[in-house]
């Protein structure tokens, strides 16, 4: 598992990358009440704002961690946004993408690095 400074986690699943947000981020957000995901088939560029999360407190944008194509989104999350508070690093994944450029992965943190990052 790799982690970004935007508090996303990235997990390789064959040729695809599964993306979600960390438990730490979910805790900071508070109760999540709304999630808007990109469409399957969308071509995205790294740092595009492609997910909107609304908690009881505020709206947050989640950035695309890599260039590539969105191949699957987690419909269960749209139906039940509270899943993010229950299982951020498991059942509450956001989308799976087929990356066209994996080089940013080298810059992303491993679990120990992320733990240090969030203090």
């Amino acid at each position: 598992m790799k982690y970004t400074e935007e508090h996303e986690w990235l997990l390789a699943e064959g040729e695809l990358i599964v993306v979600g947000i960390t438990e730490h981020a979910a805790e900071q957000l508070g109760d999540v009440v709304f999630v808007e995901l990109p469409d399957e088939g969308d071509e995205v560029s790294k740092d595009d704002e492609i997910v909107v999360i609304e908690s009881v407190k505020a709206a947050s944008d989640i950035l695309a961690p890599l260039d590539g194509e969105i191949v699957e989104i987690n419909e269960a999350l749209v139906e039940n946004p509270a899943l993010i508070n229950e299982d951020a690093e498991g059942a509450a994944w956001f989308f799976k993408m087929r990356p066209s450029d994996l080089s940013p992965m080298d810059d992303y943190m491993d679990a120990a690095g992320y733990k240090t990052f969030i203090g």
Binding site: G30, D31, V33, F34, E36, V52, E54, V56, K57, A59, P81, N85
Partner: protein, 374 residues
């Protein structure tokens, strides 16, 4: 947050695991470990304890009740003189343009008035009231008192064992109570739409009282996050968002708070700032009004979202002034302003969110019916 004020319950909040945020010049708990959603639901089901000590409390006394009451009537469009001892009312400080410079609660305590004003406005309010009243009336800033709200259907059952007089109070009654040896000034009121009490207590006794109330199994500490979603569901205005110096009582739908005796033809009609405009709007209506809105779908629409009459083109006809997710309603809800012609319940408007116009339906307020003990 070193330049922020702290309430007498600051240490209690930290012990309870509160997340503290700056609010109106104070460090206040936005939520505790349970989170906003659970805190909101708990208040509707049992009893929530809120620290509202950041609000301003003041006492006005003078040579007679008449002098005190007529003094305040020069600043608000409410009937103060007709208030019975031990009762309180919701009131509005108005400005010369008919706008609202603050909303407040005033209670009659013998021949005196006890007034509670918003935290963000309290310095200006107290200066305004002093300027109008002194030296004829005495204005005392009760800065040495904390204010604790206990809200929810179990509130009475929490207080009654401490002082049975609590159970005899009806909505908007006020009384001195003895809560476990602490003499407090309590009102049966609040800002959640639930039955409950607001308890004014000496600052030195506040933490002890809060801890005694929290020891009851039905009572849980509730932060500002849930306070906001509770008052929004109850259709209650937040000063600075839903009402301000540029909104009139009629635009804001607060005409119920202006008694007949202060309206045109009443025995004490007018005589408050902005009376010309407010009395005219009471007769003829205002051009726009505050409305409840239910966004379709799940996306919350918050303060500042512009409203349109049509799905494409045109210019904004109003905007959302408060909005978010309503845990009891189970979806997004909002309040805002729209021209009268577009403000009928059932009318569909459009809120522009992230560049997209999404339908919102005008909905009668409150979203959740009040459950006061009348």
């Amino acid at each position: 947050m070193s330049d922020l004020n702290r309430t007498p319950l600051y240490d209690t909040h930290l012990q309870l695991g509160a997340k503290m945020v700056p609010f109106a010049g104070y460090e206040m708990p936005v939520q505790y470990a349970a989170g906003v959603m659970q805190e909101h639901q708990h208040t509707r089901a049992q009893a929530g304890l809120f620290d509202v000590s950041h609000m301003g409390q003041l006492r006005v006394s003078g040579p007679s009740w008449e002098a005190v009451a007529l003094g305040l009537e020069r600043l608000v469009p409410q009937d103060v003189l007709g208030l019975a001892d031990g009762r309180q009312r919701y009131g509005l400080l108005t400005n010369d343009a008919g706008g609202i410079s603050d909303d407040l609660i005033f209670a009659r305590q013998g021949d005196a008035l006890v007034i509670v004003v918003n935290a963000a406005c309290k310095e200006a309010d107290i200066a305004h009231i002093r300027a109008a009243f002194e030296p004829d009336l005495t204005v005392t800033d009760l800065a040495d008192r904390a204010l604790i709200a206990l809200q929810g259907p179990v509130s009475e059952a929490v207080l009654a064992p401490l002082d049975p007089r609590a159970a005899e109070m009806r909505f908007m009654d006020c009384a001195h109570l003895d809560l476990g040896g602490v003499e407090v000034w309590a009102s049966r009121s609040g800002y959640t739409g639930e039955d409950g009490f607001e308890i004014s207590v000496p600052a030195t006794a506040a933490a002890g009282l809060a801890e005694a109330l929290l020891a009851h199994s039905a009572v849980q500490a509730i932060g500002l996050g849930a306070r906001d979603s509770l008052r929004l569901e109850a259709g209650l205005c937040l000063y600075g968002q839903d009402i301000d110096a540029g909104t009139t009582p009629v635009e804001a739908g607060l005409t119920w708070s202006i008694q007949k005796v202060r309206r045109a033809g009443g025995a004490r009609a007018g005589g408050f700032p902005g009376a010309d405009r407010i009395l005219a709007e009471l007769q003829d209506g205002a051009a726009r009004r505050r409305i409840g809105l239910r966004p379709e779908g799940r996306a919350p629409m918050r303060a500042g979202v512009p409203l349109f009459a049509v799905a494409e083109g045109g210019t904004a006809i109003g905007q959302i002034t408060s909005g978010g997710f309503g845990p009891t309603v189970g979806g997004p809800l909002a309040m805002g302003y729209a021209p009268n012609a577009l403000a009928q319940p059932g009318a569909v408007l459009f809120g522009e969110l992230r560049g997209k116009r999404l339908p919102v339906t005008v909905t009668p307020l409150p979203f959740v019916a009040a459950r006061f003990k009348r």
